[in-house]
């Protein structure tokens, strides 16, 4: 401690900017955390690539000895393709529906002078606090009453509903930054509300739209709770539930299980590689809920 402080004072005398100095304490923590994060991911990839026999023989952190793609074939044989397609459908439908509902709402919340609109906005703000876990029983009741139980639609509906408050909040705060003068200028050219939204508000809030879409898509792709209580059959299964099921079946086939886990996360890893910025922005939204 004293040493750190002394060194700090010493450096200060030399007039260096603080943030440019190496911070050893945090640096060590960062390296330890790095190992903690990487070990499970390394094991996941390694196990997915080796045969069951070499999984049982090898040391925990050893390099894979017999690399094979067989586990992936095995996973696809057990119907994982179907689960991935189902998940993709749910993901696209949820993200599209959320944006379609949220954007006009956010636009009206920013632009409208109606009291009712600001009242509804307050409702959405309060809705941020509704925990999805606590509503699974009535959601189950609603979905069965609507004869939607065990369908992909059943997953999309509550997923969208619980994504709306944050999406509207993010979009509305982006739309507030569009200067009023632009709306006025475009009105002089003879534009109504629809045209103002379409050719002014929409292009100017493209970044937030992307963030919101990514947030909704990520939520839907990784969703577990609603599929768990609202679907049942193999035909309607999404990937997260597929993993949960495999985990019961594959108890002795860890490489197969890890191959499935890797496949389930693969599309997102690819997006992360190419569009890291959007994904991080979207993730900030995820936890913001």
């Amino acid at each position: 401690m004293a040493d750190v402080r002394l060194r700090g004072a010493h450096r200060a005398v030399r007039g260096r900017r603080l943030t440019e100095r190496p911070n050893w304490g945090a640096g060590v923590a960062a390296v330890v955390w790095l190992a903690f994060v990487i070990i499970p991911i390394y094991l996941m990839v390694k196990d997915a690539l080796q045969t069951t026999d070499s999984y049982l023989d090898g040391g925990p952190l050893s390099l894979p000895r017999h690399v094979t793609g067989h586990n992936f074939v095995d996973v696809f044989d057990r119907g994982f393709t179907r689960y991935l397609i189902n998940t993709a459908i749910v993901t696209v439908a949820s993200a599209a529906l959320t944006v379609l509902l949220a954007f006009p709402a956010a636009y009206a919340i920013v632009r409208s002078r109606s009291r009712a609109v600001s009242g509804i906005f307050r409702l959405f703000l309060a809705g941020l606090a509704i925990p999805a876990q606590a509503t699974i029983i009535p959601v189950y009741l609603l979905i069965t009453r609507m004869h939607l139980y065990d369908s992909l639609t059943a997953i999309v509906l509550p997923t969208v509903a619980f994504g709306l408050p944050l999406s509207i909040l993010v979009l509305a705060s982006a739309l507030r930054d569009v200067p009023r003068e632009l709306y006025e200028a475009m009105t002089l050219e003879g534009g109504g509300s629809v045209r103002l939204m379409w050719s002014l508000a929409l292009p100017l809030s493209r970044a937030s739209l992307t963030t919101v879409s990514v947030y909704c898509a990520l939520n839907a792709w990784n969703g577990f709770l609603f599929p768990l209580i609202l679907t049942q059959s193999d035909e309607q299964r999404v990937q997260t539930l597929g993993l949960y099921n495999f985990q019961g079946q594959f108890s002795s086939n860890i490489p197969g299980l890890m191959a499935a886990v890797l496949l389930s996360a693969f599309p997102i890893f690819v997006v992360y590689l190419f569009a890291r910025r959007w994904l991080v922005a979207g993730m900030a939204g995820v936890g913001g809920k």
């Binding site: 994060v37 997260t240 890893f269």
Partner: protein, 312 residues
């Protein structure tokens, strides 16, 4: 007279505004679709859960009202109180583990060096994976026969490697897995907030001869106060989502060692099919979550939260 003047002026400004601002204003109709959708699938369920708490329903057929039966049962049901205790312990443990880690990592990651950017992109990998994928990966690591736990268990006092099979070990496993999954997100919050602290504060402190530790204590920490509150509230409210991890990792076991309240509710509703009684537990969850958040808001000057969030 003194009041009339500003009023008149205000009226004048408004009139002037009106004369220049002729842009079309959208009406209520624009928010109706989103509002309806939200009310049906999120608002209505919240009301319904209260109604269902006065009924008896097995998941099929029609719920039947049974008055206060569920509520009186709650009072004498020790398993619910046990679950509540475990929830509280888990929430506090997760908070205590995650907050210092995320704070330290976030401040570190706020630096702009290139190696930090590369390392940070690895840090955030857990954020990409679903809870199911994370819990299942950890479950194989913790396998007492073939996993890492079998080989390394004896280093942390589990010579047989069966960490997940012992009550304390299982609780610890949930904390570790939850931290693995969620620390990156909170790091992200702290990183963004740290970058907004004015450099001039540090420069001034440096001139005054304050070292790194003192600067951290007297500049960084106070400046991050709102973020600490935000992150803590999110952790508290988010502790409901630990349910998915618990369900896959331990199923509430061994015994009832990790049987947190949402897990208890899920089992009551979808394994025992006592939907009415489970609704009482669900309502308790809502009340608890709201009360906790309000308490924190009240005692920490949470009003500034929004500005902190906007920095993300």
């Amino acid at each position: 007279m003194t009041t009339a003047l500003p009023a008149a002026r205000r009226g004048g400004v408004r009139a002037a505004e009106k004369s220049t601002d002729r842009a079309a204003r959208p009406g209520v109709l624009w928010v109706v679709p989103a509002a309806l959708f939200f009310m049906v699938f999120a608002g209505l369920p919240l009301l319904l859960v209260a109604v269902l708490s006065f009924t008896s329903w097995n998941g099929l057929g029609t719920p039947r009202f049974n008055g206060l039966d569920n509520w009186s049962r709650l009072l004498s049901d020790s398993s619910v109180w046990q679950s509540l205790r475990i929830s509280a312990i888990l929430t506090v443990l997760c908070w205590a583990v995650q907050t210092p880690l995320a704070l330290l990592l976030g401040v570190w990651a706020a630096g702009r060096q290139r190696n930090r950017a590369v390392l940070s992109s690895i840090f955030f990998l857990p954020l990409l994976m679903s809870t199911a994928a994370i819990a299942i990966t950890w479950l194989t690591l913790l396998d007492p026969n073939f996993g890492l736990a079998a080989k390394w268990g004896h280093y942390i006092g589990f010579p047989d490697g069966n960490i997940i099979g012992s009550p304390r070990g299982a609780l610890g496993c949930v904390v570790v897995v939850v931290a693995w999954q969620f620390v990156p997100f909170h790091t992200l919050l702290y990183q963004a907030a740290t970058r907004q602290i004015p450099q001039s504060l540090y420069d001034a402190a440096t001139v005054d001869g304050a070292g790194r530790v003192r600067q951290f204590r007297h500049i960084t920490l106070p400046q991050l106060r709102n973020t600490i509150v935000t992150s803590s509230v999110l952790m508290l409210v988010g502790s409901l989502t630990y349910f998915e991890t618990v369900l896959i990792l331990t199923g509430g076991g061994p015994g009832s060692a990790t049987n947190i309240l949402p897990q208890h509710m899920y089992m009551t509703a979808f394994r025992d099919y006592q939907m009415g009684y489970a609704s009482v537990i669900a309502l308790a969850l809502v009340a608890l979550g709201t009360a906790l958040s309000l308490l924190i808001v009240r005692f920490s000057g949470f009003a500034k939260m929004r500005s902190t969030l906007e920095g993300i």
